[in-house]
Symmetry: C2
Subunit: 407 residues, 2 copies
Amino acid sequence: MVTLSDRVTSLHISPIRRVAALLAEANQRKEIISFGGGAPSLPPPKEVSEDIIRRMSEDSQGTTVYSGTRGYLDLRRLVADDWARHQGETYDPETEVILSEGATEAIFAAFHSILNKNDEVILADPTYLGYPEAAQLAGGRIVRLPASVEDQYQPSLEVLKSLVSRRTKVVVVLSPDNPTGRILRLPFVKGLLDLAVDNDFWIIYDATYRDIAYGENIQPKLTSFPGAHERVISVGSFSKEASVPGLRLGYALGPPDAIDAIEKVKQYTTLAPNTLSQRAMVRFLTGDVKEKYLREIVIPTYRARRDFMEKAILRYLPDAATVRPDGAFYFFVDVRKYLAAMERTDNELCDRLLKQKGVVAIPGSYFGDKGAGHLRLTFVSEPEGRIDLGMKRIGEFVFSYAFSLAK
Amino acid sequence: MVTLSDRVTSLHISPIRRVAALLAEANQRKEIISFGGGAPSLPPPKEVSEDIIRRMSEDSQGTTVYSGTRGYLDLRRLVADDWARHQGETYDPETEVILSEGATEAIFAAFHSILNKNDEVILADPTYLGYPEAAQLAGGRIVRLPASVEDQYQPSLEVLKSLVSRRTKVVVVLSPDNPTGRILRLPFVKGLLDLAVDNDFWIIYDATYRDIAYGENIQPKLTSFPGAHERVISVGSFSKEASVPGLRLGYALGPPDAIDAIEKVKQYTTLAPNTLSQRAMVRFLTGDVKEKYLREIVIPTYRARRDFMEKAILRYLPDAATVRPDGAFYFFVDVRKYLAAMERTDNELCDRLLKQKGVVAIPGSYFGDKGAGHLRLTFVSEPEGRIDLGMKRIGEFVFSYAFSLAK
């Protein structure tokens, strides 16, 4: 029999796929309340839709040809300008910026560009569930930096120091974070950069949720510290800020040798980014389309839902512990007290919530061992009435289940 | 200093990048005649443009959300139907079809799904320049199967047999081929399948140019032979047949375990295919849009240009050898007699053609060692008048250069 490679047979069934299966079921049954997805629930700015319509009407051929592997220079310029405005560091659009098929491809190519076999990759625990296997596909060994609700999901610089070794090749930071919503604080970021300089490792700074932030805590300008430019590969995405995950467009910024290496990998993963998506995002970053969309629509809508869900968690799950997210789309809720009473895991609870209550929640253990006993609840997928209904159902289920055991 | 991975530092400067640099120069200078590109030069069908416009007008949100990693089932159904109609083999759209960011991603993920370190990958020489490094990134060792103009660029089954070893993990076939335009003949395909069954290796069948065929020779139905279904991973693309390379959409068909493995890899390369592109290609494969577009526009236009360029080659380069392509976009022209008189390589000739004559041609050596001494000339990028002018300039340059040396 023809056989598959060891690398794919050793990949676990991915949490991404388990999440996708949950969401597919949610999509088919409209009565299901979904706190599961990681996608925006708003239409993109009308300027973006109109730009796609205009381009397909006026120049369908020009809009469907190949761009180069790095993508169009005009969009790379706008990405660099946007980064400089927000993050205070200037990148050369010719040599230090590349467009990618979502942040996913940028992260994959970055890992392939820097990791040799058994190089260590330090990841928060919990954090985005796509990192460990992407790093392992490039030969990396995963080391986890724990974060817990008691510390507001902020990782400890002292613990990070104890994890750094001669084998440390890269530390990945996601801020605002998925699933916890925390923005990294300035002292940690400064300390991380000092460590990186002293120990000569890379930082991958995943800024996917950079612009989905609610204003209470400000994103540190990680790339503008001394020593950052030559050792930080920043990754971003239009998926969240422009509400266009289906357009699959992201980018990486970094020193020329790293961007050059990412381009080499990208030649074989996808060859070139989508032309129509690039054109649409040129419109998004031109004038004040982005700023106006975030200020008038995205942030107010999501902030209101966040605050609404926070109240619902307090009301329906009073013994849970969580932290109001600084940014991104999620509450990461520690339900260990309930699970102990129920004698169940987070996985089992999520299965039952879907089957018996028609509510999708994502098990925290998908995001790392330290996420066990938590639920990730997206607050942007449902309007407020359904947020309330869904949280009420979770509360009812948890209480009745625990009560039935206690009898 | 922070360092890059061995895998990227050992990647040669890719021929893809050298081609891209040539084409970028051609695009900036309109007076340059380009025989370089590998992209269609027609607008996509108007039904496709209109569908994108309609969707962005009516449901911009629904058209920009994530699809699952395998892509929408309705498009996978249409891809399977189209394959069955053309290739006579049925694939289950649920378990045996996955959409990808161009054929490029499907090939990358297929290599990652089947190759362990030092597994051997047999590739034609010459053939598509993206395969060797994609296979090497997955750990493969390249073995080349020569083809020459004397044999109409048809590889020899006897030579293939001599190359197959215990280490052979996959044979890649591209038909119609880039750069030679040859369609594989039935006896070779049958023999290849027998070899694959006897020696238990995979076949990757790249059908990117499947529908760009001029009718003199018919594409064998490779996947419909006994033993094919469980050991052939077929890869296709909408780039050429719908004239939409910028929409980055392709697909793979194969046995469920292979498609499952490709999905695992794709979760980390790009996560999901572009939603808008998928919707547009649903329109392309619905009704007779595709058949009508190919029959009425693509094939007649390209066939006329092919026949025109063939005459121009005979007229301006009478000592060159080539084969009229069965399909795809290219003449692969053996100019070794001229190069010998000029004391130059194909690389040097192409450099000079661009600088001194404003004509882009791609050096044959980019496609493998056996391609040395050849030029790849695309016949779809320019209208007939400019094909004549460009070929005339090549002929003039070659003759005057050789003449000046002979003096």
